[in-house]
Symmetry: C2
Subunit: 407 residues, 2 copies
């Protein structure tokens, strides 16, 4: 007989599969006999206000679990909340632990990225400090794939599948008139280029893939870009280039921050990173005389549940369940991780790391996976991403529209 | 025994289902015993250069037909080519008819929108003039749904399904933090608001739908917009508004052309219609102090084959086949049309109209279907769009990626 209740929260930016992890936490907790499984609304900021829901009110059947797995965005809502250091300010910790006691919560699960793992590490350390037996576990989540200590992160596979599929469609779209033109596709990714790199998977039997990738890992150089485009246009009229929103020059400026210097302004004088594609299309038009069109892949990158990777959905679910299992086995202050055993056939195993090791670290694309001369990623990088997009899980469609679960 | 060969071309902007019409033309032509079925590359501009392919080289099986139906963008390439009036300049007509004779082509099919129907009408009239028995038939195509004489246009249903699904995902995405914010979604649509109107279908059992639609049929008024947003924000923190790129003020200026006056400039001083969402987010931020994010639905609106309407794919296929059947029955200078018999259950029949009646006319949303006070469309409008998005046709997936047919 398990003592005490469980609570689960979601934090940071949503993904298309973050609710699959929530479903995984719920199912394993329920299957192991935990009676009450609370959800906190809007992560820790809702927790502090005791904004709880009883998840059994929403998830009543196997069908509900499947619907939740197919629901994008954070079912419970999210927050961007950073805990202070408890050695300097323990008041919020005292509040949190009094609430945990009030609801007889012994297991605390937090689905999120670096900042969320910072919270898991701090709460677990504080529990040690005060001799509490409450266990805190992290479930990894981010479309950016920038979490350290894990081979990859749930959310990345589906974002990759979305980006690669859309880029393939843009490649088809861009060439219809048979005239010269560059489509500039802008992905998310401030410091790590994993999302832009995923567009290389558009290279398939029936598609040459994008022509050029600009990644934040590589300092952007105007001369190199100018020359590389001229090289490509020798053989091709229709070009598609994919850029991370966060590409920077050697001086460390985001491209959009360069705007003043180059006499190009963001529409309202803001240094919005969203201006990267617009900056490049302007450069291509004015400096090279090439017809261009920008395509900014917006929030669909993190919420396109209409095209997800079944591998990703399943792994997100497994990550949630594994966190519960580890907590029941006595673990705390850990995050669930994946280890790659083989690319082809794709095999991983599930392990744990200290949440503190993940907090505040950003994993970038390894240098040796980047082809700086041509502006591309290596076959090894493609082989790494490829298995993460395999398989589909179609939404439940009602009257032609995807159905979702909601609070 | 059918005499002579057939040729088919695609013109204007692509859609997710324009190749389903191509497949329909091919299948009915082949099934009726037409021997050679040519495809012209890049529409009439490729025709004049005799850039032909033999479609039987590409479509060899039922599986190929299914793959072609699932391939977005124009398989044969496209063009924007306008024929002159033959009474003032008949030289290009003489050239076209000499090429038709050279290849023994008796049936000419053109898949496209208003401009393409202008070509069909002119070529057919010229054939009459010179006593030619070559038949010219138009197959309707446009995501904009602005073709007259037909209940709706192939391409619109899939674009609607894409837009409504993505807007539903954006609604979920926008509310995760529980804080006030407006997501401004910009759809295509220069003069007709059909695409923006389709976002109203995001209103389902589990979703309230977008909060406000700004359509080009209604003159945009700053005071009305200001007051309407203030009304909505009384009850809601997370708001999603959908705007057509072509909304205009009462003075007839596109919003982006208003920029100078309002001291907001398009990034490079161009009057690009793409600036409409950016203009509104700026207004919301600076005039109303609301956090905003813009989401510009780019070329995916016309090329997202990863989420299409089965109804639309099937109707596009039927439209292609019906054009062939009509031509074989002796028709020329006509476009295939749909007539709505009933919304629920959804029933249509297929008919013909004169291509000349479609050319140069734009069908807008009827005035009585627009709720100008609240910025929305009527239930009747929703009932009209709803059946067009029903059903799915999943891509053929290989290694996690949609597969397409290519020349």
């Amino acid at each position: 007989m398990i003592k005490g209740n469980a609570i689960v929260g979601q934090s940071g930016g949503p993904t298309a599969v973050i609710n699959s992890s929530l479903a995984g936490v719920f199912k394993t907790a329920r299957d192991n006999g935990i009676q009450k499984i609370y959800g906190m609304k809007n992560g820790l900021s809702g927790f502090i206000r005791e904004e709880f829901v009883d998840l059994t009110d929403y998830i009543k059947s196997g069908l509900d679990i499947e619907l939740l797995k197919r629901t994008p965005s954070s079912f419970l809502g999210s927050c961007r909340y950073k805990l202070p250091d408890y050695t300097t300010d323990s008041s919020v910790y005292e509040k949190i632990f009094s609430i945990l006691k009030k609801y007889d919560i012994k297991y605390f699960f937090y689905i999120g990225g670096n900042d969320s793992m910072d919270s898991v590490a701090k709460l677990s350390a504080y529990a040690d400090e005060i001799g509490s037996d409450i266990r805190f576990m992290g479930v990894p989540k981010t479309i950016d794939n920038d979490l350290d200590k894990t081979d990859h992160t749930p959310g990345y596979g589906s974002a990759s599948k979305y980006i690669a599929s859309v880029v393939k469609e843009i490649i088809l779209d861009n060439r219809v008139y048979g005239t010269e033109g560059v489509a500039v596709v802008e992905t998310m990714g401030r410091n790590a280029g994993w999302l832009a790199a995923a567009s290389a998977l558009a290279k398939t039997d029936d598609c040459a893939g994008p022509d050029l990738l600009c990644l934040p890992e590589v300092a952007f150089d105007y001369n190199w870009f100018y020359n590389r485009i001229n090289e490509i246009r020798k053989d091709k009229k229709s070009m598609v280039i994919v850029v991370s929103e966060g590409i920077k020059t050697a001086s460390g400026n985001y491209l959009c921050e360069e705007n003043n210097e180059k006499r190009v302004r963001d529409a309202f004088g803001h240094a919005s990173l969203g201006g990267t594609a617009m900056f490049l299309t302007h450069f291509l038009r004015t400096e090279m005389g090439i017809k261009t069109r920008e395509n900014i892949l917006g929030s669909q990158q993190r919420s396109a549940s209409h095209i997800v990777s079944r591998t990703d959905i399943t792994e997100a679910f497994v990550a949630g369940g594994s966190a519960v299992q580890a907590a029941l086995e006595g673990q705390s202050g850990k995050m669930v991780t994946f280890r790659r055993l083989s690319d082809d056939p794709y095999k991983i195993d599930v392990s744990l790391c200290n949440a503190s090791e993940v907090a505040n670290v950003e994993k970038k694309i390894p240098d040796e996976w980047i082809d700086k001369t041509n502006g591309y990623v290596s076959q090894e990088c493609i082989n790494y991403i490829k298995p993460l997009i395999i398989g589909e899980l179609t939404p439940f469609m009602v009257d032609g529209m995807p159905m979702h679960m909601h609070l």
